[in-house]
Symmetry: C2
DNA sequence: TTGTAAGCGTTATCAC
DNA sequence: GTGATAACGCTTACAA
């Protein structure tokens, strides 16, 4: 538990000089620098973060705020953030938020109380104004997957929902499949809105009529997907050629419903999900892949850069998706996915 | 950004008194207490953590160390930890460890540098002696799923691997299935060893001969499960009545291999996994369920209790599992799982 | 280039 | 009960 003073004693230099060697690329003789460094090593000296924070206002900590999660891919985002943080030598103060009051308190604690040097928030349902008011410009904030208002307040990292959905639909259209059923999220969900728009654009780009598409609203859950599809099928409507669900869970739920009615995938209809989760992989489900780790990594780097960089205009980074094609869209004769003989589903 | 002094000025009391009101259940007149509290509220005063840490050595932070994860259920553990931390008013400093050097540095930073009041580690491959040496009794440490040596050094929270595996095997034996193939993890993996032992115990308890059981070593991955099973099937060996894989991923890999050979589950053989992940749920896979959130919650609470509690003997908490029965072990005539008509697989 | 010394905002030990 | 006051361990003007 050596302190700065121990290093002083051992070297004969003042605290100022030691501090200079340790922190700033300041004017210090190469000779003194070496003497200090040697002493530091020999004494096994480690600066105390608490003292540093108090005197220098640097926490070396990145605050991260997540919604209460049951959501597998948030871990991926977290890993990406962790990678960026590690590269910058920062620690991660992670908080899940359960309710708005808790979120506000977390924000105050991270920002005003000086527990972090920057904050990354993911899918937070607080307006920019509210966040700005709480944080009060004490630390930079980066939003991941921010909703609604095209934030001119904070840096934003978002998924390219539009092109992601469009690519899935285009893929189907290219296969000659036009009779598509869209299983969406809640009507007021930003991701869902963008994905719906992407689907529409794909039709328009192909010169096809989007109004023939069936749109069913669900809630992003497995059960929701299953129930909506069951209802649909039992209402006597005709089977679509393909279902494009706006996330994997609903896709898997829909799959269950479809199979329960005796239909097969991809035999009777094609199926596409969104997110490309592990479950999609194992189920052989074609899905729009979102590079969650990259998103975390980029968001964290954006935040880190803002720590000592001058305030520039808020930037928006849109992360592109790709389509992971698997058996759920591969008719046996198409033959391209793995183990086509049993279609993985 | 009011400070303690501002509260002093406003109330006329000294820093000592304010601090007493805020921290200790100390001797303070009810009247002064109220005056101080009012001023605190009015000034919107929030004590700075940095100053507290420096002067009081309390960080109000719980350190959490995870292995680099691609592992969905670690999130669940983290949620459990978060719940416990929130209840205790603690923040979470989370770190993923990539290599041993990084882990050691993290440990030093969390413990010696005083960044946390207690540490929860999950599946760390460092010996107790090493950890103890690094942490040097500065903060309490709790291990989750600790390996090997029955740690008499730290509190431990572990999965009841033995009974978990035994329950799965017993379930099969009760169905009259004895010709079981075990798909294990690496031979030196502690979880795997315990699960194997549990399987053996189940046979012995049932008075059956364990030596007839086929044991195939794999590596806990989907690919591993698939390859080992493919090799097995192609070697011309007879099909077992059931496969019990020591995690869900291998189970799903084995399923793929089995289906590729034209067999059906549960028609031709039963299949059981371990962990009960989301993928198991969607695949209709019977699996040994491990309450990951509980594990995190209990571990964190253990750690939190140690913060100001006297050092007692290290305790070990063994979390019990349960069996999630699904279609992969339900022959059509058994009829009990959901949508039996297509077996969910 | 290096040293002096004044903070940073608390906690806690003494006295009173 | 309450108040001075000395830590806590570092950063950083300002001097030298």
């Amino acid at each position: 538990m050596a302190t700065l003073y121990d290093v002083c004693k051992k070297t004969g230099f003042s605290t100022a000089t030691i501090s200079r060697v340790l922190n700033r690329k300041d004017v210090v003789t190469e000779k003194t620098r070496q003497i200090v460094l040697d002493a530091v090593k020999e004494l096994n000296y480690r600066p105390k973060p608490a003292a540093r924070m108090l005197a220098g206002h640097k926490t070396e900590t990145l605050g991260v705020i997540f919604p209460e999660i049951d959501n597998g891919f948030y871990v991926q985002v977290l890993r990406g953030i962790d990678n960026a943080a590690k590269e910058a030598g920062l620690h991660l103060l992670v908080s899940f938020y359960h309710d708005k009051a808790g979120l506000k308190e977390t924000l105050l604690s991270l920002a005003l109380d000086g527990r972090s040097d920057a904050i990354v928030m993911i899918n937070i349902d607080l307006s920019d104004r509210q966040v700005k008011k709480l944080v009060n410009d004490t630390v930079p904030v980066v939003m991941i997957g921010h909703s609604a208002e095209t934030s001119a307040t904070f840096d934003v990292v978002e998924i390219d929902n539009t092109n992601g959905a469009a690519s899935a639909v285009t893929y189907l259209l290219n296969k000659g499949i036009e009779n598509i059923l869209l299983l969406t999220g809640p009507a007021d969900n930003f991701d869902s809105i963008q994905r719906l728009n992407g689907a529409k654009l794909a039709f328009e780009d192909a010169g096809k009529d989007f109004s023939t598409v069936t749109i069913i609203e669900s809630n992003f859950t497995y059960e929701g997907g299953m129930e909506q599809m069951t209802d649909y099928l039992e209402s006597g409507k005709s089977l679509p050629e393909a279902i494009f669900a706006f996330n994997d869970r609903m896709a898997l739920g829909a799959l269950e419903a479809v199979k329960a009615k005796g239909y097969t995938v991809p035999g009777d209809l094609a199926l596409i999900g969104f997110d490309d989760t592990e479950s999609a992989l194992y189920a052989g489900l074609t899905s729009v892949q979102v590079p969650m780790m990259d998103i975390g990594y980029e968001a964290a780097n954006l935040a880190i850069r803002r720590i000592d960089a001058q305030k520039g205009n808020p930037s928006t980074l849109t992360i592109t998706t790709s389509l992971s094609v698997r058996n759920s869209t591969q008719r046996p004769q198409d033959d391209a996915g793995r183990s086509p003989s049993n279609c993985g589903i």
